[in-house]
Symmetry: C2
Subunit: 392 residues, 2 copies
Amino acid sequence: PKRALAKIAEVARTAKKLGQDDPRRVTHSLKVGLAITLVSLLYYFQPLFDGFGVAAMWAVLTVVVVFEFSVGATLGKGLNRMLATLLAGALGVGAHHLASLSGEKGEPILLGLFVFLLAATVTFIRFFPRMKARYDYGLMIFILTFCLVSVSGYRDDEVLEMAHKRLSTILIGSFASLFVCVFICPVWAGSDLHSLVAVNLEKIGSFLEEFGNEYFNGLEEGESKKDKSNLEGYKTVLNCKNTEESMANFARWEPGHSQFKFRHPWKQYLKIGTLSRKCAYRVDALNGYLNSEIKAPLKVRRKIEESCIKMSFECGQALKELAMSIKTMTSPTAVDLHMSNAKTSAKNLKSFLKTGLWEDTDLLEVIPAAAVASLLIDVVACTESIADSVNE
Amino acid sequence: PKRALAKIAEVARTAKKLGQDDPRRVTHSLKVGLAITLVSLLYYFQPLFDGFGVAAMWAVLTVVVVFEFSVGATLGKGLNRMLATLLAGALGVGAHHLASLSGEKGEPILLGLFVFLLAATVTFIRFFPRMKARYDYGLMIFILTFCLVSVSGYRDDEVLEMAHKRLSTILIGSFASLFVCVFICPVWAGSDLHSLVAVNLEKIGSFLEEFGNEYFNGLEEGESKKDKSNLEGYKTVLNCKNTEESMANFARWEPGHSQFKFRHPWKQYLKIGTLSRKCAYRVDALNGYLNSEIKAPLKVRRKIEESCIKMSFECGQALKELAMSIKTMTSPTAVDLHMSNAKTSAKNLKSFLKTGLWEDTDLLEVIPAAAVASLLIDVVACTESIADSVNE
């Protein structure tokens, strides 16, 4: 019993944390409950029920299946479901009609053949990358509805009525989901993508802001490792490609909202995302040098310290500025300044290295410092292309 | 019409390519068609139909929804669906019974309350990362079945029979899917994960094998860029974290098959995957130097050429050897040899750099070469930890 209690306490703690990390999760849960309860009213009220009969359960089913966290996802699924049901329903009625022409014996064979062909073809279409990204759910519902309508038509002669009932209940379910989803504390995939991209830039920016000081001064002061976690924030940037892509897909379904118009250039965000991941890979390599045992000796580091700290800091500032300009959707003001500072430092570093004050140090010791410097120069280039993308 | 024809031709070409890339896609489509046709037999045969009535359509629905590409995914969804239906059906019958005790007026209110509470709670549970990974579908079906059974119980007094019919048709649908999925050209997520991990190592390996020659000799010979695509194979490794994770999740559902036992240590593959991604990040940085305009001058490169080519080549060989040993599930034989060669080269390079034959070159020109060398030393370390993981 003690272990069970501990387990329960742990679950409760996780739940609390999930709720605190993103309070919209709690709202979302309540919204789903509300939408389902609303739709199940169809059942409780006699007049409404008489219209639909048992088919009313399709409405409940639709709400459960279609209701997603963000408006874009719900809208995408709802539209997919409605359109697919409409098309497949019509096709199913047609197939049923065609099959019934071939007489008592031929009908089941012909129906079976239709179902087989359609299911196999549409399943194959689901492998097309473009279809998979946007219409995967619709294609599944297409198979489903076609099979249900054409096959159950074999027993039930009111195929048309059945198709019609299925369609209208699905419409009710989808609209109820959309209504609750859009009008009660909506979660827009577009805004989420927008802030995700900005936050990612900010994370890389704060790493770079700190990196110079950390690398060149960190050790001497014997600092504790407590603020390392702040630096590791960029790690989430490395693996968020899929999240960004699905968010962009959802966002394309969404109508205009707050500062975003319909057909906002969501693809641009993916481009910025790709560039920031490229930058994050370099940052990951820099982080490796931060944690590695073998550091360049103090003497060597001192020589390049100033330029490197400056480069890293200015890039960090520029990225943060860019993040801010994305957030507020204004043109960045000080980015050019930061970038030109960073580039000047890079130039200084280069010309300093050319003067060759290095005869008395052996090259092996210089390598880590040189690699850091070279990576930073790379980061400056990355930052610049990110800045270009943001401006577009 | 010409444009339409061109469009059709393009779609046909894509379809052909999809089929040729992985012929199992075609088989899968046919399998889905077969399974659905099999289940719809329930409708065509009078005696079978009498048993289930209209509920037989749940079986068709189950097949369409549950049938996935790999056995693991199908099994996971099928088990989720069956278990969730069983539990939620029982709970729904209970809720209906409880609500009906409270009389004519109280019943719909109480039912609505139950539905709201359950839907909100379970929706929140779906946010738990662990539940999401394995039981997301089951939780959705849980809400669905509970709502259907408890709510439609309000109109239909044969709740028990309805729950029972729903459960048995879902069982039939799931078993039909599983049967076709397992016994006709099965696609095992486990084997796929196994070969994905091996292929990823191989891709990094072939990059490294070529890299040394490409970097140090490529330019002089004025080689065309045609075999660059061979080198870029590693890029897919950078972003396959999600694929690997979902495959490992599916694989855990699968029973033992061919050389894999049930409870094969799938997590180990994720570990190797993480390490190979870390290695791939370094490789990405190396690739940057390969394509960069500023290369170290020939004189400088010549000096470190031998060791670097050797390091890169031996690491590549070791990775390929490891990939092969994963594929054949045998202990790697020559990896230790390759690794010790690579480490000797790294040592040579280090001591060579220490001798300081560099006085006459300026440091700026050395940096790219030094960075390449340093990254290669990093890669050697990565490769070694991958080798350790594979051996486990």
